[in-house]
């Protein structure tokens, strides 16, 4: 099979699964997709699944789902019933496999054993002890995995029973069975709340959503220890995908919305301002609710944009003046209301926001528009939205493509920052001269020492910044913490704001000190603050500090990559001289007697 045939096959599989997502269909497709190995390191994902019940089908479904996402999955499935041996034995195949993600699915009746069925043989004191013992055992197992691998660990929480021998008196018992399992679940949540390796998957919530009696076929459970009906395996795997996507950085950042029959009912050009359906009465209330869900995503940091075929004046009047619009003009980072085709608008939105097409999600009620965008821009995730507007909100809530593994201050503010950027660009259009523009921006740069508040963000910046990044060295939080504690290094972050708003923490510098020589190990700036000479101001600070410290030699490192051309001439433009070049690595030296001033229109705030 050639790569082209494979891509076609994947596309067909995708279409078939939209029509029929039964387990049998996945198993059929699975066979046809295995002859090609996309052996690209960044596409590889190693998935381990460990459980106490029958896991048949999970591997095949996850494999197909991962391949549809463009990934190349590898699997380790623990042998039936051997979860504890596999985890506790440090030489087991699990550790040899070196998973990126490990799913642990143990059922509550295994953990509680006989006490699950006969809890009231125990005193309430002993039930409490039982929960504590279970908690200890589970956290011990997880500790083994998190210490023995670099894997993210996804632990199923425990499903609540649907009946009790105590009947209506179940919750009158001190530390009853339901309360015990609830407590165990809550203890696990608390225990891992700030842990960025272990995640608790709400399996109890998952089975509740579909109905506990409905997700299990008891005869399959008794005859084969299958805990879910076959056709719920794909639904369970979707939940796992909610973790796999952010691990492989496949998460989406921006939601692009149509207007007519999407954000409101009807067509404003035909029905008029007063005729569209949006408000407290049905069906307008379904659109109000949909907008509220979108707003909640915006407040979590998702960027919003509009892509609508409309008369701009009509549509903008609704956005600006309609009393029941939940979403306001200020929430949108890009607004394309015109008569161009939706695919061109989409490309323009990506370009304007400087984000990749594959970070976009598109919602449009019109099938033709969806088909067009799907065909022209397959990188964009075009949602298959039901015809009934009553289902819009729920469909969006189920989407797991916005998932991220960690939420920083900057992530939360992203939607707002991009929307402010639109205002800035409009302002730039009316101010003629760049110098004047920058002067009128009232730029303020705050430089702060690395501390426990900004360390996660500094690490994230080193991981994600590709363009203005002199060395592209990737550092984990632990590494940043080490730098901050080391006397021979100087590490600080830069936060940038202007008259339109706060860009957040967008720059970082790491310097290695060796007596009278300072080496700039890392110097990076997020691309959204480029073009304002902020980098020049930060460098001025570095030089000033070096002078104060009596440094004789200030060295800037530059390592060339495919993506960091915007940073290529930075040291040269700032009067550094090239001293050494080995392969991709250059060393630039600054003569400490050279003058280097802060740009006069940038205000510097020091917290170093």
């Amino acid at each position: 099979m050639t790569e082209n045939e494979y891509i076609k096959k994947i596309k067909r599989a995708k279409e078939e699964l939209i029509l029929n997502d039964s387990l049998v269909n996945y198993l059929k497709l699975y066979k046809g997709l295995q002859d090609i190995n996309l052996n690209v390191e960044e596409k590889k994902i190693k998935i381990a699944v460990i459980g106490d019940s029958t896991l048949d089908g999970v591997k095949e479904v996850l494999n197909v789902k991962c391949r549809i996402l463009g990934l190349y999955p590898l699997f380790y499935i623990a042998p039936y019933g051997q979860y504890a041996q596999v985890i506790l034995n440090e030489n087991s195949a699990l550790y040899e496999f070196k998973p990126d993600i490990t799913i642990v699915w143990i059922n509550v009746d295994t953990v509680f054993s006989e006490n699950f069925y006969l809890p009231y043989r125990l005193s309430s004191k002993n039930r409490k002890k039982l929960v504590e013992d279970c908690f200890k055992n589970i956290t011990l197992l997880l500790k083994k995995i998190s210490e023995g691998t670099d894997s993210k660990v996804i632990l199923h929480n425990f499903q609540m029973p649907i009946s009790s021998s105590m009947g209506i008196l179940e919750n009158k018992q001190e530390y009853g069975l339901v309360e015990s399992i609830n407590n165990l679940n809550n203890k696990l949540i608390k225990n891992y709340q700030t842990d960025n390796q272990v995640f608790i998957f709400d399996f109890e919530g998952f089975t509740s959503r579909y109905g506990k009696e409905n997700v299990t076929d008891l005869k399959l459970r008794f005859s084969a220890d299958m805990r879910l009906k076959p056709d719920f395996i794909p639904k369970l795997c979707d939940e796992y995908l909610g973790y796999i996507k952010p691990i492989k950085s496949l998460n989406k950042k921006c939601l692009v919305l149509d207007l007519d029959n999407t954000l409101w009912g009807g067509v404003v050009g035909e029905d008029g301002f007063e005729g569209i359906k949006l408000g407290p009465k049905s069906p307008g209330n379904a659109f109000v609710e949909f907008q509220k869900v979108i707003l909640s995503l915006y407040e979590r940091g998702i960027i919003l944009a509009i892509n609508s075929k409309n008369n701009p004046d009509d549509a903008l009047k609704v956005i600006k003046e309609h009393p029941y619009m939940v979403l306001k003009e200020k929430h949108f980072a890009a607004i394309k209301i015109n008569w161009n085709d939706k695919a061109s608008n989409m490309a323009e939105i990506a370009n304007e926001l400087n984000i990749n097409l594959d970070s976009l999600v598109f919602i449009d009620d019109d099938r033709t528009n969806r088909a067009l965008v799907r065909e022209m821009l397959p990188q964009v995730l075009t949602l298959e939205i039901p015809d009934d507007p009553a289902l819009y909100a729920q469909t969006l809530q189920k989407l797991n493509d916005f998932n991220i593994l960690q939420l920083t201050e900057e992530d939360i503010k992203r939607g707002e920052m991009y929307a402010q950027q639109r205002k800035r660009t409009e302002f730039q259009k009316i101010s003629l001269d760049l110098k004047d523009f920058l002067k009128n921006l009232n730029l303020k740069v705050t430089l702060s020492k690395a501390d426990k508040f900004n360390i996660p963000r500094i690490s994230q910046l080193t991981q994600k910044t590709n363009q203005f990044n002199m060395t592209t060295k990737r550092y984990l939080e632990e590494d940043i913490t080490k730098f901050s504690e080391n006397k021979n290094s100087l590490i600080f972050s830069a936060q940038v704001e202007d008259r339109f708003g706060d860009y957040g923490l967008t720059g970082a510098v790491i310097i290695r000190k060796d007596k009278e020589t300072w080496v700039i190990d890392t110097f990076l700036l997020s691309c959204r603050v480029l073009g304002k000479e902020v980098e020049k101001a930060i460098l001025a600070f570095v030089i000033e500090q070096a002078r104060k410290d009596g440094v004789k030699r200030l060295v800037g490192e530059f390592i060339s990559t495919k993506k960091n051309t915007p940073a290529k001439d930075f040291y040269k433009d700032n009067k550094f001289k090239l001293a050494n070049k080995v392969n991709e690595k250059e060393e630039w030296v600054f003569n400490m007697d050279t003058k280097h001033d802060y740009p006069d229109y940038i205000k510097i705030n020091l917290r170093v």
Binding site: S22, V24, L27, K31, L218, K219, L220, S223, K229, P230
Partner: protein, 79 residues
């Protein structure tokens, strides 16, 4: 019978024309214990019926499946 054959062929990934009454786990490699359960689920979905646990355990070949389906009122005769 056509619908039954097509389910068997679909789940076991075998040729529909090769299916006989005697077709069983003995002569079809893909008819393992997991696929045996998938078959039951697929028949239940297709004909909107429910097998009980004894019926599940009693299936040894295609003929057995047809007998159970018949008991549940499904037309199984060849057209």
């Amino acid at each position: 019978m056509n619908k039954i054959k097509s389910i068997l062929a679909n789940v076991l990934q075998i040729d529909e024309n090769s299916i006989r009454d005697e077709t069983s786990p003995e002569n079809v490699e893909s008819w393992d214990s997991f696929n045996a359960l998938l078959l039951i689920s697929e028949f239940e979905k297709a004909f909107n019926i429910h097998f009980d646990i004894n019926e599940v355990m009693s299936v040894k070949c295609v003929k057995d499946i047809k007998m159970i389906l018949k008991k549940h009122g499904v037309e199984t005769e060849d057209e």
